[in-house]
Every structure is written in C-alpha cells, then in structure tokens.
Amino acid sequence: MTQYNGFYLMGNYPDRDTFIEAAAQGLQHFDFLEVGIPFSDPIADGTAIAEAAQKALDSGVNLAGILESIKAVRERVSPEKDIYLMTYANIIFNHEETLKSEEFKKLNVKGLIVPDVPSSEDFFFTGENALDGLEIITFLTPETEDETIKKASGRSNSFIYFISTRGITGGSMKLDNDTMAKIDLAKSSSTCPVVLGFGIRDSDSAKTALEHCDGFIMGTVLIQKLNDKGLDGFKKFTDELFGELG
C-alpha cells in the first residue's frame, strides 16, 4: 500500500521565508503538510510546539499571514501534495468566514486538524454552518473504545490521525499491545489511510509506525531542528530520514 506521511510546521515560524522554504522542501519527501496556526493556550502541545506558538504570536503571526504563505507554498509544490490546517477550536470559531471564503478555497486546503474538537463535538463546525468541503480529521487514541473506532473509521475520507500514546506532543512513542490492536481495528474498518502521530522523531520510530500504520506524522523534532540548526539542518535531517526509510 502507498504510504501517506505528513509533517507539522508552525505557520510563518521561525519567520515567513524559512517556513515557506521548509514547507516546500519537506513536501519533496512527505505527502502532506500540517500548518499550525498559533493559539495562546495549546493544551495538546508539549514545550517545543507551545513555545514556537508563543514566539509566533509575539511576532504577530496570524491566520491571514499564514494563508498568504500557504499560497506561496502551493505555487512551489505538486498539486497532489495535501495541506491541512492544525489549530485549536477557538481559532477556527473566530475565522469561520475566512474558512468559507472563495479566496481560501483556492488554497486547496484539505481539512482541519483540531485537537480540542473530539468527534462528539464536530457538529459544532459541520451541520448547519458547515465549513464546506473541509473535513475535520478524526483522531483515534489508545483510549478510544472499539465501537467508536469502527464508527469514526467509516466516516473519514482524508485520513485518520491515530495518536500513538497517551499524552501531548513532544513525548516518546510507546505502542502497547492494546494500542496495536486498536490500530488494526481502525485499519480494517476504514478505507482511508491510518496515520500514526505523536512521538515519532527518527527513522527507527518512523519505521515502527510504518510497520503498523499507513504513514507517520512528524512535528516536534522538526521544530527543534529548525530552532537549533536552521533550514540546512532541517533539510539534512529530512533527506537522511527518507534515505534511511528507502
């Protein structure tokens, strides 16, 4: 089966140009990009991403500016590459008009990844005031009950975001037997890729993810590479990673 691998970058972080460059470079290897829109109170994020969000907010980063950058990224990458927005419910709630606009549709953003909107609450953004065409990506976790996994898997179109571990971003991956059984259940009940995220930070953890899932998502480690080693370090890391994955 073809892989569906994704990476996370905070929008316009550490600055606009670096973000656009890293996005375009990363999409040479990865199949999709999650663009973070910074939020002041990111309860699902560990220190690395939370600090990046705070710095971005301090330097005036906002949705409008990030959408401009996504336009620039779109011009540089193949149209098959997918782009998602990743942010928190209140940012979505405050920008519903923007997300329904014609301008926005031109960016071909495929869906929203919103860690504080579980599937029980996604009616808040679908139903009547549907953000048409924009799918809210389903999260499944080691805690999710089997019935919910079956139901959620049947409804998803783009991909299912399976969280590898109980915890926030930036931790380490621990796949216990129960979790692996839940991943298998998700895969057998869905027609779209099941992608593993949280705690994947090198080729070993990526390989483990690919043994069980259709793809992996990398986030924290890439923010750290950009922080510590800049664009060159980012590029070297992703080139080597995909070299090792073959």
Partner: protein, 393 residues
C-alpha cells in the same frame, strides 16, 4: 426554566466537551460513575458525614449588623469562610475525591489560582491516602505563598507553571496536559464550574450544598427570602452553588460579581461576562476575554482566584436568558470592602469574596433598605502577601 445541562452537556448553546479525544472516554466514565455515585446511598451518606463532621457544615448565615447600619443595607453573610481549609472549595474537592476513589483512581491532580482549591484537594488526598499534584501559575505561587506552604505540609507536590501569563489559566493548561498522559490512574479535580462536561455540572451540584442550606436558614433568620443574592465570579463555582436553589425561588435577584481590576480597558480586568464574547477554551463554549484572532487576552485582578479569562458555561447561559446579572467590582472597591469587613465585623475575608461585598458597598444607594445575602466564599489569611503590598501593614 429548562433543566441544564442537556444530555450532551450544553446549557443552551454554551458548554460541551472540547477536549482532546484521549480524554473523551474518561469524561464518559466520570459521567457514568457520577450518576451511580449520587444514587448510591452509602456513598452519599459518606459524603454527608464528611461534610458535617470533617468540613464543619452547615455553615451559618450571619447578619452583619455593624456593616448594615453603616451602609443602610441589610447585609447577611453565608459563612463559607468557616468551612475547613477556609473556603467553599472543599465542598467540591471532597465530593470529587470520593468520586475518584469510587472510580478506582489512585492519583489526584488539580489546578489552583488562589491556592484554596489546591489546599482543599491536598487535604482530601491526605485524608483519603491518595497521591496528589497541584499545578499553580508562578505569579500565584508568589502572591498566595501561605497556601503553597499548606499544600506542601499536606504532602502534595506543587508544580509551578511558567508558561503564558503564569496564572490560573496556565495552571489549567498544565493540569490538562498532565491528565492526557496519566488518565488511566488519575482523576483531575477541576476546582470550578469550568472545563468539559460533566465537570461544570458536577462542581455545581457539589457546591449547591451552599444554597440548600441557605434557603431555609435565611427564611429562619430574616422571615422571608432575600431581595438579592450576591457572589464573586472567577470560574463561577461559589456563585453557582449559592444560585442553584435560589434559581427556583421567585423574586430573588441573582448577582454575580466579576473582577473589574484597574479599569475596563483590555488587560486591566477579568470581567468576561461584562466585556467578553463567546468562544471555546478549556473544554467549553462560553464567554471569554479574547483577541479578534481568538487568542486569550491577558487579564488582571488583585485577586488570584478571579484572575481568569473564561467562566463556567452555565453563567454564560444564565446571563443570556436573564436569570442572573453580572456586575463588576474594581481592585480598589474590593480592598475597601476587605478593610471594612475586618474593622467593622472582625472577619478577614478572601479577596475574591471581598469583590461581592465591594460591589454592594460601592452601590449602596441602589441596595438601600434591601436584604442582601452575600456569599462569603472564603477567608483572607492566604491574602496577606498581597494585602501587605497593597495596603501596607
């Protein structure tokens, strides 16, 4: 009035369960266990016994005669400051700690602003032999230091939070982040009527003991119901507790008092129901103080327990349907009320509770001749560092 919340956890359009998917099964377990817990006579007997013999309930209603004469307003105080540990927070912590045991959890976590909820949770952990960790913004660790020492004495780990504004909202973020990772053995005792369903409901129910007692007590000492019931609003738990039974009594005006801070300019206050607009944070849809972009705004209050940019969803609902009104009290007015209660009644109130009295004092003409029941939610020992700085001692 409709019964709220509905089965999905909504109070009209407010409320909900906006938390990471990992926590959804835990919320469901809490909801189901709570339903069993309140129908389990043995468990209820245990809670009632603890409330009586351990916490010291019922608390009295006291007619503050000196202050009443001075203001020409009849001031009655529901003395939650006399509850063990010094505030209403123990009513909820005891209930939830028993619920946590009932669910087989072995570890408790909590956020705290003023430190009262932290102390209440630490107290329950000591009593019930459970491990406990309390998250507290660094700013609050400094300004409410007596409560930090109390928590440590009680055997609790106090974790200062250095992110964001280093206050209550950041402590809640940190507690939620811990809970996502530890949910298998840990119960998060939220300290106010905030968070995702069923927390706002559970906390309100445990706090409603305040008005279950107050309604008959007030009738007994004043011969009729009060004209107004006034409570400070941080997250809104002491207000929810004293409003609960009075919502069923015709003709009693319910008044929540938010922190007016230094001024009504952005960043100078914590008055979300007065100056905010609806949004989603910490698990529910409610009034919040936020930027156009949707980020939480910095807020201010001299009182750590009111220094929070959001509010429980039920208050947003009560405001919108007009069942309660929400006023403000400035830092200055609260400090004046604090001093007045010390000097004229020999009661040192918490700065949070001082906001409820401060509003009435600042508008005494409006309340002239009325019978006003104020929820004196806590005592002020914890506030000495702030009082020293603000008033000089």
């Amino acid at each position: 009035m409709e019964r709220v919340p509905d089965k999905n956890g909504y109070y009209g359009k407010f409320g909900g369960k906006f938390l990471p998917e990992t926590l959804v099964p835990a919320l469901k377990q809490i909801e189901e266990s709570y339903e069993k817990f309140i129908n389990d006579t043995e468990a209820q007997a245990k809670l009632n016994d603890l409330l009586k013999r351990y916490a010291g309930r019922p608390t009295p209603i006291y007619f503050a005669e000196n202050l009443s004469n001075l203001l020409d307003v009849e001031i009655y105080l529901k003395r939650e400051d006399l509850v063990h540990t010094g505030a209403h927070k123990l009513n909820n912590a005891l209930g939830q700690a028993l619920l946590a045991k009932y669910m087989g959890k072995t570890r408790l976590i909590a956020e705290t602003g003023a430190g009262q909820h932290g102390v209440a949770t630490a107290t329950c952990a000591a009593l019930m032999g459970m491990e406990c960790e309390v998250f507290m913004g660094k700013v609050d660790v400094d300004r409410q230091s007596p409560n930090v020492k109390r928590m440590k004495l009680l055997g609790t780990k106090v974790t200062p939070v250095y992110s964001g504004s280093k206050t209550l909202k950041d402590a809640i973020n940190a507690a939620m982040q811990d809970w996502v990772a530890t949910v298998q053995n840990t119960h998060y005792i939220l300290g106010s009527v905030v968070g995702a369903h069923p927390f706002p409901m559970i906390v309100r129910d445990f706090q409603s003991v305040i008005s279950k007692e107050a309604v008959p007590q007030f009738l007994e000492i004043a011969g009729r119901h009060p004209d107004c019931v006034v409570a400070s609003v941080g997250g809104g738990s002491n207000a929810a507790g004293i409003f609960a039974k009075y919502l069923e009594v015709e003709g009693v005006k319910l008044i929540g008092v938010e922190a007016g801070g230094r001024s009504n300019k952005d960043g100078d206050h914590s008055a979300k129901l007065n100056y905010g607009r609806p949004g989603i944070v910490h698990g529910n849809f409610t009034y919040i103080l936020q930027t156009d972009e949707g980020n939480l705004m910095p807020v201010h209050s001299v009182s750590a327990g009111l220094d929070y940019p959001a509010v429980g969803p039920e208050h947003s609902y009560l405001k919108d349907i007009g069942a309660a009104v929400y006023e403000t009290c400035s830092d200055r007015e609260a400090l004046d009320a604090f001093q007045a209660l010390c000097r004229h009644e020999g009661i040192i109130p918490a700065l949070e509770s001082s906001h409820a009295l401060g509003h009435v004092m600042a508008h005494k003409e409006k309340y002239k001749g009325q019978k006003v029941l104020i929820n004196l939610s806590g005592r002020g020992d914890k506030d000495m560092p702030i009082i020293e700085e603000e008033l000089g001692l």
